[in-house]
């Protein structure tokens, strides 16, 4: 029972990790919250659903979900962020809420407001490991998450574009003087962030085999908590904080009642903010600290 809950919490946490990373890419670079990430996650889920329903393989669903969400993220950057770059940080936060409203409305009109269901036999295969039942889809969720996080970490730490990203987040003006196109890097961060949220959406919707237009709000806010707990300055922080929160949430549901879980998650977030504002793995100096 306990082990089973751990496995379920780990799966949920893997998805939180991806969405948290999506938030922290934009937050670490620009110190703004892109609230529409919750809806990019939801959109990715619907796109993945549509691809699977058309009998394409899982990899295609992931690719389409990521590409679709990244494209919308491009639009959000160009219309909702770039023109408001010099406004106080609340303004772009609110404009991304405008995009949230639009995306929710469009998805509701295209796919309906009732939950969509996948025929459950598609991903229902389970493997027994002693007392624990692990769904094949659960393994896919965790594996894809680990691969994506490693890829993002590699990208940020080892490649030229990652160096440019860190330079812009450290000091936008100096980076520009050194010949880095800050607006291009911003666009890249937005799209990468969108792709991660889209991937998370595909994974969670196929894992639960059901999706509604409203899943983005709840998951998005939880992912913000995960981002804070892990620390916005570290890619690996999200990888630890995601499963931590996922497990905490599943355990609270199992032993304290499902109504308590938000209380526990946001309580942990506030305690982190007060005692260790840089997050579990955050360092104060590297990758743009903007407290």
């Amino acid at each position: 029972m306990l082990l089973q809950q751990l496995v379920n919490g780990l799966t949920l946490g893997a998805v939180y990790t991806l969405v948290a990373l999506s938030f922290s890419l934009v937050m670490g670079l620009l110190a703004i919250l892109n609230i529409a990430i919750g809806e990019l996650f939801m959109l990715g889920g619907y796109l993945g659903f549509a691809v699977i329903a058309a009998h394409f393989p899982l990899a295609a669903a992931l690719l389409i979900g990521m590409a679709g969400a990244a494209l919308v993220a491009l639009v959000i950057d160009k219309i909702g962020y770039e023109p408001l770059r010099h406004a106080p940080p609340i303004t772009p936060l609110l404009s991304t809420i405008g995009f949230s409203i639009i995306l929710q409305n469009v998805v509701t009109n295209v796919w309906g407001s009732d939950p969509l269901q996948l025929p459950s036999e598609l991903f229902d295969r389970r493997v027994s490991l002693g007392p624990v039942q692990i769904g094949v889809m659960q393994m896919v969720v965790v594996a894809v998450t680990v691969v994506l996080v490693a890829a993002v970490a590699f990208l940020i730490q080892k490649t030229a574009v990652g160096r440019a990203l860190r330079a812009v987040s450290e000091n936008r003006e100096v980076a520009r003087l050194l010949g880095v196109s800050a607006s291009r890097i911003t666009l890249f961060a937005f799209m990468l962030s969108g792709a991660l949220a889209g991937a998370a959406g595909v994974l969670i919707s196929l894992h639960y085999a059901t999706i509604t237009p409203y899943i983005g709000v709840d998951t998005g806010l939880k992912a913000i908590a995960v981002m804070v707990i892990g620390g916005t300055t570290s890619v690996w922080g999200a990888l630890i904080a995601g499963p931590l929160i996922g497990i905490a949430e599943v355990m609270t549901i199992a032993f304290g009642g499902s109504q308590m879980r938000d209380f526990v998650v946001y309580g942990l977030m506030i305690v982190t903010l007060l005692l260790r504002p840089q997050g579990l793995l955050g360092a104060r100096s590297e990758f743009g600290q903007r407290v």
Binding site: P83, I97, N109, L274
Partner: protein
């Protein structure tokens, strides 16, 4: 007035109070994404007093406001450690914690909601709304307001010239919480049914939206923003299924064309000159 318009005007009044509550702390450069939490506290305290203790609404609202004010001050102290977007995230967490607290708080109905409150008239709601707006407008002309603005512009400099920034910021939090609580109490006695879902993240965002759209540099902006936020979706009804998308698009458009909000000081000055031809 038809009940339809009466309902809309009540919504505007309540939303305006919520917007003012955000405005009051925004002036000290603190953004709250969790004022629906204070609204929930006011809502539940006032309802408890009128329903279980048979109080009249006015003293119940005052006690609700004082309760929220104390909680606001308690929240305001640790919040001093946080700045900018991190403070906003912390307040978001606070709002969600209050919401989920009332979900499990069974004496007040828990997730099933709470009912039995006496209904209030539109006039009563607007008496409070106008009173608080007047209070904020008077505050805007005071020395205290200048101190709050000084903290907004440069907190370190404000501290260096001898202003008590801690007291001012925490005080603003307490006042803000009290105003949000009154909005909550009026909400409960207008809808005569409350549930924790009424006080989620979206409500907090509505408050912030009303302030920023209406104009974040003048208190009266909250009135413009609240009216816009309530009436715009109604005017867009002819778009049927697409009205929310149109609302979102118009929201972005207003932010792009007037990032300082619809009402600002130059516009307010212009309106004043027009109305008083010399």
């Amino acid at each position: 007035m038809s009940t339809y318009y009466a309902g809309l005007f009540a919504d505007i009044g309540i939303l305006m109070l919520g917007a003012l509550s955000v405005y009051i702390i925004l002036v000290t450069n603190q953004l709250s994404l969790g004022n629906a939490g204070f609204m929930a506290i006011g809502s539940y305290v006032a309802s408890y007093l009128t329903v279980e203790q048979h109080w009249a609404l006015t003293p119940a609202l005052i006690v609700a406001a004082l309760t929220a004010c104390v909680i606001g001050v308690i929240v305001g102290f640790p919040a001093l450690r946080l700045k900018g977007i991190y403070l906003a995230i912390a307040t978001l967490g606070f709002g969600e914690m209050v919401r989920s607290f009332f979900l499990v708080f069974s004496p007040m109905g828990g997730s099933g909601g709470y009912r039995g409150m006496p209904h209030v008239s539109l006039g009563y709601i607007w008496a409070w709304t106008a009173g608080i707006l007047l209070l904020v407008t008077l505050l805007e002309r005071s020395r205290l307001w200048l101190e709050m603005r000084a903290i907004h512009d440069d907190e370190t400099a404000a501290g260096l010239v001898g202003l008590n920034t801690t007291l001012t910021k925490v005080g603003a939090f307490g006042f803000s919480a009290a105003v949000a609580a009154i909005a909550g109490g009026l909400f409960a006695h207008h809808y005569i049914y409350i549930e924790p879902g009424n006080f989620g993240f979206e409500r907090s965002i509505d408050f912030v939206l009303a302030v920023i759209l209406g104009g974040s540099t003048v208190g009266a902006g909250a009135l413009v923003g609240a009216a816009l936020l309530v009436l715009l979706p109604e005017w867009l009804r002819f778009l049927a299924d697409w009205r929310l998308a149109a609302f979102g698009a118009m929201l972005i458009l207003v932010l792009l064309t007037r990032p300082q909000g619809i009402l600002d000081r130059p516009l307010l000055g212009l309106l004043r000159r027009r109305s008083k031809p010399s």
